[in-house]
């Protein structure tokens, strides 16, 4: 029991390694694959500004016991700003587009686009947020790109004896 909780905590803090020990109790096939997922919350897209990638900042009620509303809003707002930066229409993106057109778009095969660079930045930001804020509270943010930019998936893990999480 205790060693299990310690390893669960350490795996969260590291944030990358997928090592997971399962204590055999009454588990279904589902649980055997994951460390006791309690539920998942999906933050949907906000289409009020059009088709740009933007997520709703409305605080889900299921997270009320685990997270500050302000922290959540800050995370989502930063993500929205990063996506806006990736999709920004400006001189730099036009230049990239025109240059690509002149080369019959073959430069896309060898060059990393601005959008891809920002996606990497977003990925690093999410990892950082997971390590600092979400993992200590038994939560996990999933990068929206892995869900086709449809949702921000937040996994809520069962709160065993990790404490109040705050």
């Amino acid at each position: 029991g205790r060693s299990f909780n310690a390893s669960l905590l350490s795996s969260f803090n590291i944030g990358i390694t997928g090592l997971c020990f399962k204590k055999v109790k009454t588990h279904s096939l589902q649980d055997l694959r994951q460390p006791a997922v309690s539920s998942k919350v999906f933050v949907q897209r906000d289409y009020n500004s059009g088709t740009i990638s933007k997520f709703q900042t409305k605080f889900p009620s299921e997270l009320e016991s685990r997270l500050d509303k302000q922290q959540f809003e800050e995370t989502i707002q930063t993500l929205n700003n990063l996506y806006a930066e990736a999709e920004k229409l400006g001189g730099k993106s036009y230049l990239e587009g025109c240059l690509a057109c002149l080369t019959a778009y073959t430069i896309f095969l060898c060059m990393e686009t601005h959008y891809e660079k920002v996606l990497k930045k977003i990925s690093r930001y999410i990892k950082d947020q997971n390590e600092k804020i979400y993992a200590p509270r038994g939560l996990l943010l999933t990068d929206p790109i892995e869900r086709g930019l449809r949702v921000v998936e937040i996994t809520i893990f069962e709160d065993r004896s990790i404490g109040s999480g705050r």
Binding site: L19, L89, G97, L140, G148, R150
Partner: protein, 355 residues
């Protein structure tokens, strides 16, 4: 239980490997699992009707339509042009002609291949958890085995009410401007149309390739048509007549026929798409008349920037969106392999556990 420790289960929640750049920075993730079988890539379990080549690098629709015909016509016509017309025109006019022809030909073929072989903006289907969450929100009537009535959601975009439809195949509410292509069985973002000539859907990611293709093809067709006409006219000079000229250069007759019939349709298509680009519309929206205000209400296109130049730039020169389907990513280990391994453990564990 011992097997559990060695399996290095990746909890489904933790991201396996970054999707887009081919060499993933967290590379070891996919290779680290000591799975008994080779890790599978996501394209191998893709649910839509697409075919993949080069280990997921190239994607095409299941039916290639008339793409071979399109390619064949272009290559044969240009081949005939270089063989029959260019030598004569180089001698009598200028040697720029094969150079221009060659550049246009290369441009056309490259953009055609890019239109056909690129992911048009396919939206991956919703995961089971997402689908369940949406179902809960819609509040359906229990375990109905028949299809519930169509579900829609309304959003306000730039003071315009837009209806989002629920896609039964992909189990999600389609984003605005997204449509489900029945030929490819995928939801495609900013769906324009499914082009049989190109053998692929035209959507957000490959619209600029498609537009460049048809514009450069119209230039190429017009150019060849002009050159062939000049060639035949020059040959027929001195009272020799057109028949004599055609006999001397039979290939030109074929080119003439092909170009004459295609130049009008391709020029027309280019003109139509130029109009669509300048007003930031898709073929789908134009055909349905979504923003033309036929019913008398005050509707206008909420996606337009109200400026022709900005519309053109945003559609053709905007940032290139990434592919959302992550064809070459590895499947999370637990999905593809663990089910087999865990199944064998269950019988022994079941005896210990109390249901």
């Amino acid at each position: 239980m011992k097997n559990c420790e060695y399996q290095q289960i990746d909890p489904q929640a933790l991201p396996p490997a970054t999707p887009n750049p081919p060499p993933p920075p967290r590379g070891p993730h996919g290779d680290r699992g000591e799975e008994p079988t080779a890790p599978r890539r996501k394209w191998q379990v893709f649910p839509g009707k697409n075919r993949f080549y080069c280990d997921g690098r190239i994607i095409v629709a299941r039916q290639s339509g008339v793409l071979p015909l399109t390619l064949g016509l272009i290559i044969v016509t240009c081949g005939l042009f270089f063989i029959f017309d260019c030598p004569f025109l180089v001698k009598h006019l200028t040697s720029c002609i094969p150079v221009i022809g060659g550049l246009l030909f290369v441009f056309v073929v490259i953009t055609l291949l890019q239109t056909s072989l690129t992911d048009p903006g396919i939206l991956p289907r919703a995961t089971p958890d997402e689908a369940a969450d949406i179902e809960k929100q819609i509040d359906n009537t229990g375990n109905a085995s028949y299809r519930p009535p169509p579900r829609t959601k309304e959003v306000l975009i730039n003071q315009q009410v837009v209806k989002l439809k629920y896609c039964f195949t992909c189990k999600m509410f389609r984003p605005p401007r997204t449509s489900h292509c029945s030929l490819c069985d995928n939801c495609v973002e900013r769906f324009d149309h499914h082009c049989p000539w190109v053998g692929n859907c035209v959507g957000k990611r490959n619209y600029r390739f498609f537009y460049t293709f048809i514009v450069s093809l119209s230039f190429l067709t017009a150019f060849i048509f002009g050159c062939v006409t000049t060639h035949l006219a020059l040959r027929a000079q001195g009272g020799k007549g057109l028949m004599f000229a055609l006999q001397e250069s039979p290939g030109s007759a074929v080119e003439l026929v092909v170009c004459f019939f295609s130049v009008w349709s391709i020029l027309g298509l280019s003109g139509f798409h130029t109009y669509l680009v300048s007003s930031n519309l898709t073929t789908n929206e134009d055909i349905k008349g979504s923003w033309s205000g036929k019913s008398g209400e005050d509707v206008s296109n909420p996606y337009s920037h109200k400026n022709i130049f900005v519309n053109c730039c945003s559609v053709l020169c905007g940032p290139m969106p990434p592919s959302l389907i992550d064809r070459r990513g590895f499947l999370p280990a637990d999905e593809s392999v663990q089910t087999a391994a865990v199944d064998t453990e269950l019988p022994t564990l079941a005896t210990k556990s109390v249901p």
